[in-house]
């Protein structure tokens, strides 16, 4: 009996389990994700773990990514369309170090794409998973403060007050002014916040080939848009949803237009524009230099037409 010491009985010391999260955490997250996929747009509560980054920096998306990632995956991390900003670079390095996976900036090569604020311009395909970081998962938050009440409203599909919000915007400003997080109805049932993506990206969720998972670490909620699911922005029958007007904006680096642009103010008061999606821009530049590169079809074509004809009213 004397040799039954704690040191001998205990599991051999390991710094971290694979992909940082312990197996119980990963199992819980995967079960929540399955439930979220089963009920499109429904916010599933989960036990959001402490992560080595602060709440609000992508802990929700990071936990989903870490619970799904395996040695064969290729990971891309986007922050505001950019692969190289501090948040994206840190998350990508963390995921690669913890899971030993390959990383990429090419949206077509990636199997898992964790993103903040943007969906890539190139069409994602079946089998790819897009993980969006969400600060406020509750689309009814600003019209109803009580969480108990908003859950009741979701249960009753009582979303009428959202249209009152639209009415107010039209009366006061003459157009819909919600820029990011434009609320959508998923699968003709649940009202959902698509996360702080611009209106430009909202239609990309409709009948998409890829799986979209949205996760809010601080609010401890995750939800999903399964592949090939109807997603419609809320609008009036006579005043329609529209995306940001990108007409006349040409990327000064790559020369393309009809994509989502970053505006770069110049000292003389004018503006330059550059592609927000830097992974896509890098591939365009490569092609310009004559290097071999595969560029996929984009959601919006060179004339600015959305790939689901008739989805957007013009």
């Amino acid at each position: 009996m004397s040799d039954m010491t704690v040191a001998k009985l205990a599991h051999p010391r390991q710094d971290y389990s694979y992909a940082f999260l312990d197996e119980f955490a990963k199992r819980e997250l995967r079960r929540r994700i399955l439930k979220a996929i089963a009920i499109p747009g429904y916010q599933v509560p989960y036990a959001s773990r402490e992560m080595p980054i602060a709440r609000g920096w992508g802990t929700g998306g990071l936990q989903v990514t870490l619970s799904l990632v395996g040695p064969g995956d290729v990971v891309k991390v986007i922050d505001q369309g950019d692969d190289d900003s501090v948040n994206a670079a840190n998350l990508r390095r963390f995921i690669a170090r913890m899971a030993g996976v390959e990383t990429t900036t090419d949206a077509l090569r990636a199997t898992l794409i964790q993103s903040r604020h943007r969906i890539p311009e190139e069409r994602l395909r079946e089998g790819q998973v897009l993980i969006l970081q969400v600060p406020i998962p509750e689309p009814l938050r600003h019209i109803e403060r009580s969480m108990a009440k908003t859950r009741e409203m979701h249960a009753d599909a009582d979303y009428a007050l959202m249209w009152l919000e639209l009415y107010e915007q039209l009366v006061r400003y003459g157009s819909f002014v919600t820029g990011a997080s434009y609320p959508v109805i998923v699968h003709h049932r649940y009202l959902m916040s698509p996360g702080p993506i611009p209106r430009w990206d909202t239609p990309k969720l409709h009948q998409a080939a890829h799986l979209t998972l949205l996760s809010a670490g601080r609010e401890k909620r995750l939800y999903a848009v399964p592949p090939y699911t109807d997603v419609y922005p809320i609008e009036f029958s006579d005043v329609h949803f529209s995306v940001e007007d990108q007409n006349g904006r040409v990327c000064f680096i790559t020369g393309v237009d009809h994509k989502f642009m970053n505006e770069i103010p110049q000292s003389d008061g004018s503006s330059l524009y550059s592609l927000s999606d830097t992974g896509y821009a890098a591939k365009l530049l490569k092609r310009k230099k004559g290097e071999a590169v595969t560029i996929g079809a984009t959601y919006y074509d060179e004339n600015g037409e959305f790939y689901h004809a008739g989805y957007l009213h013009t």
Partner: protein, 273 residues
């Protein structure tokens, strides 16, 4: 003699109040808040097109009664029936929240004494009216605008100010916005909770004029609660006098106010005069 012989069976009909079924029947209502009994066994019947006044001093249970009739609260006991499509013979207190919401949106309008109870102060006035239509499933912006305009015309609210915020409007105008909101979907029943009590006398008269004209034109059924006998005298056909949660006297307005039978009602009438 001549006059009597010209009366035939077509003109000699029983009064409407007798021949038509009541719109509203509330039976045996009890409501307690802790140790306080707000309503102790109230029965009320209101006929279509009638204006029923509820008078009584503060704390007599008038407003509690109106909250029950507006389905805002459930009573401890009692039944409540409205003669509206799909809900005949259904005790409205037994409805689930979905159907309760439907009854409140389509069939009951309410004007509160304090506008902030009935209006969203940081939404435009027309938005407040449009809310009713949106709740009822309207999704056309143009339809909402024209319905809001029609409703504001009926409540005699200046259209030039329909997109102002209620908190920028005077008290009388706020009451008119509440009224426009209440009647936007042409409900069968309109509940008025001290609608003019916060207003000065001249504005009060104007709002009462509007209410009276509206009632005359649309024949809407109204239950009005007030401690002001002048308001009741102007609007109501029939009066219910409440005290300590009970109805102590009921009858035609003129009859009750001119010849009160109960000592308390006499006191009330004399206090006014």
């Amino acid at each position: 003699m001549q006059a009597i012989s010209t009366l035939d069976s077509t003109t000699l009909r029983p009064p409407l109040l007798v021949s038509t079924p009541p719109l509203l029947i509330a039976k045996n209502l009890f409501k307690r808040y802790g140790r306080v009994t707000a309503i102790a066994g109230v029965d009320i019947t209101v006929y279509p097109g009638e204006v029923l006044g509820v008078v009584g001093e503060s704390g007599s249970g008038k407003s509690s009664l109106l909250r029950l009739l507006n389905l805002e609260e459930k009573p401890d006991e009692g039944e409540y029936y409205l003669d509206i499509d799909g809900y005949q013979g259904v005790n409205l207190f037994d409805l689930d929240r979905f159907h309760r919401r439907e009854v409140r949106i389509y069939h009951i309008g309410i004007v509160y004494q304090y506008p902030h109870l009935g209006l969203r102060m940081h939404y435009t006035s027309s938005g407040n009216v449009a809310e009713r239509l949106i709740m009822a499933g309207e999704r056309s912006f143009d339809a909402m605008r024209s319905a809001a305009r029609a409703s504001f015309l009926a409540s005699e609210f200046p259209l030039a100010r329909m997109d102002d915020f209620p908190f920028r409007l005077s008290g009388g105008m706020q009451q008119r916005v509440q009224l426009a909101k209440a009647i936007a979907l042409r409900p069968r029943l309109l509940l008025l909770d001290e609608p003019t009590s916060g207003l000065d006398v001249s504005v009060q008269a104007l709002v009462l004029d509007t209410l009276k004209r509206l009632q005359r034109e649309t024949r809407i059924t109204i239950v009005i609660v007030s401690h002001d006998l002048g308001v009741i005298r102007t609007l109501a056909d029939r009066v219910v006098v409440m005290r300590q949660g009970r109805v102590i006297e009921t009858g035609l307005t003129d009859q009750v106010l001119e010849d009160p039978q109960e000592a308390y009602t006499q006191q009330l009438v004399h206090a006014k005069l």
